[in-house]
């Protein structure tokens, strides 16, 4: 009882943990701000954002959307590279006295690696891969079970509530009208990590990651071999998207596993999903069940994938794809991501 009284005295607040990629703020962070904005206006409280790393001031200028109250830059040489132990420790030390109500991250590699460590340090409830926030009297959350074959409405029992949001599901916030305050916090407590990075290879990739891309062009058994995936890469780049693959294609060694879409791969919600030569096993279909628009190209008119397609083309992938590419090249590509 005493505890609850103490907490009410403190100002309620919502916090977003930002991410950065190659000197930019990824789209999913804006989506987190969008969701945080709605929560903050319902609860009538502050919405703050935290970035961790080195030389953060220039990157914080790229935060242009949403009504943030304040942006905190947790600066330390020790935080230059993402580390589960250091990041969760720095965040826990900083946030513990602030008694945050909600902490929001993207359900990215980083977000999902960081969230359990942060949740256990702050003794909060963690809800991963949130698809919807239900703003009733009691706020609840919808998340997938069995890759989305079933949806669960869940409620946390502890505070803070740590949420990771599925990319491409939550709407972007409006452009911010007012400038928010920025405060740089120099971390002066020691941060340790028992884990040492031996090697890190970051490719300047031309494609976004499959789980965050707004457009995904995927290939299955019908692509007949790894050499034909270059056609999908060309198509995906025209649309600013990523290349996905079915389990059959990955198990055949045509694409690495991090491209796999489905229950034992990535469960995604792009605006546009283009399935090329994919028959549509149930474990694949659940992985795309929340895609907004699905186009399927397959020779077999009976293929399962057509049952979930908004547009189905019965035909040869190797005939249809070049036509798509030609028309988009002529008509101008460029995806309207909003």
């Amino acid at each position: 009882m005493e505890n609850t009284v103490k907490k009410e005295v403190k100002e309620m607040s919502i916090w977003i943990i930002g991410e950065k990629r190659n000197g930019n703020i990824p789209r999913v962070v804006d989506e987190c701000i969008g969701a945080g904005e709605r929560l903050a206006s319902k609860l009538n409280c502050n919405l703050n954002l935290i970035l961790l790393g080195e030389n953060l001031l220039s990157i914080s200028e790229k935060l242009t959307k949403g009504n943030l109250t304040k942006v905190y830059l947790l600066e330390s040489k020790e935080l230059a590279k993402f580390s589960i132990e250091k990041y969760s420790e720095a965040l826990a030390q900083f946030m513990r006295p602030l008694a945050p109500k909600y902490i929001i991250l993207g359900a990215t590699y980083t977000g999902r690696d960081l969230s359990p460590a942060l949740a256990s340090r702050l003794e909060g409830s963690l809800i991963n891969d949130v698809l919807e926030i239900k703003m009733q009297e009691e706020i609840t959350f919808i998340r997938p079970l069995y890759a989305g074959k079933i949806l669960a409405e869940v409620k946390p029992t502890k505070e803070p509530v740590i949420l990771t949001l599925r990319p491409n599901v939550f709407p972007l916030p409006s452009l911010s009208e007012k400038k928010f305050d920025i405060e740089t916090i120099s971390i002066n407590y020691p941060l340790s990590d028992r884990t040492k990075v031996v090697k890190q290879e970051i490719k300047e990739k031309e494609e976004p990651d499959v789980s965050e891309a707004t457009v995904v062009v995927s290939g299955g058994r019908g692509m007949k071999g790894s050499e034909n995936f270059s056609l999908l890469t060309k198509f995906a780049r025209l649309l600013g998207g990523a290349v996905g693959a079915s389990r059959a294609a990955v198990d055949s060694g045509w694409m690495p596993h991090h491209h796999q879409v489905g229950q034992t791969g990535k469960i995604i919600s792009p605006n546009l999903y283009i399935a090329c030569g994919i028959s549509g096993a149930i474990q694949h279909l659940v992985g795309i069940s929340s895609a907004k628009c699905v186009i399927a190209i397959n020779k077999d008119p009976e293929a399962n994938i057509f049952k979930v397609a908004d547009y189905g083309i019965v035909g040869d992938v190797f005939e249809v794809l070049p036509i798509f590419i030609k028309i988009l090249e002529n008509g101008g590509g460029g995806v309207n991501i909003n």
Binding site: A117, S120, I282, P301
Partner: protein, 257 residues
Amino acid sequence: MNIYVCVKQVPDTEAHIRLNKQTGKLVEEEVNYIMNPYDEFALEEAVRIKENFPDVKVTVLSVGPPRVEKTLRDALARGADEAFRLWQNYWDALDPWTTAQILSNYIKDKEFDLILCGKKATDDDAGEVGSYLGVLLNIPVATRITKLLLDLENQKIQTTKEIEGGEETVEFPLPAVVTAEKGLNEPRYPSVKGLMKAKRTSIPCISPDFKPEPRVKIINLLHPPSKTQGKIFSQDEPPEKVVKIIVQELREQWKIL
């Protein structure tokens, strides 16, 4: 060296999952249960370490009701030395946090060098238990690993995983927790010898006196809205025309392109 592998029994990924209309709960009888696919990679890696290093013992743990015994027997058949099931009849609706507490309570007093889990289970898709184990046992964690290199002499381990835009290899001291991603190895099928041995091995059930206090509660289960089929263009229609129609609709109606 003592290795613990934590496995979960989950519905077959090819299974359709149905809810009982009255209770809103899963229709369990219709489901074929298997070992969580990611746990198969964890187990395989443990068995490979056992094959490549002397004096390695592989113990498999699973939290769950009696039906879970089948999955534990499967693990024994694939090369684990012993298996324990952790369960109390009054446990219900365990969330990842309480599952991790049950596992860590069991492991903490034992001698352990390495704990392997799958990166997530394909039923609740949480991917949290391995990370919680690291915090609860106060040992390093490496998630979603696709490569593992053991340096027993120096009590060290090196693992590789996918990160945003690339790949990262890290090194850390044992004891530690690692969670397995697809690609770590190619899991084997049980051998006839393994199946015989698994049949003979007893699988004790441990019933700890532990009152779970879940941090997340499921209050409702629902079927997702079912998708209706859109426009299907048959083989007889000229593809140029079809593609033009689709591109135009993507631009004008869907505002995607």
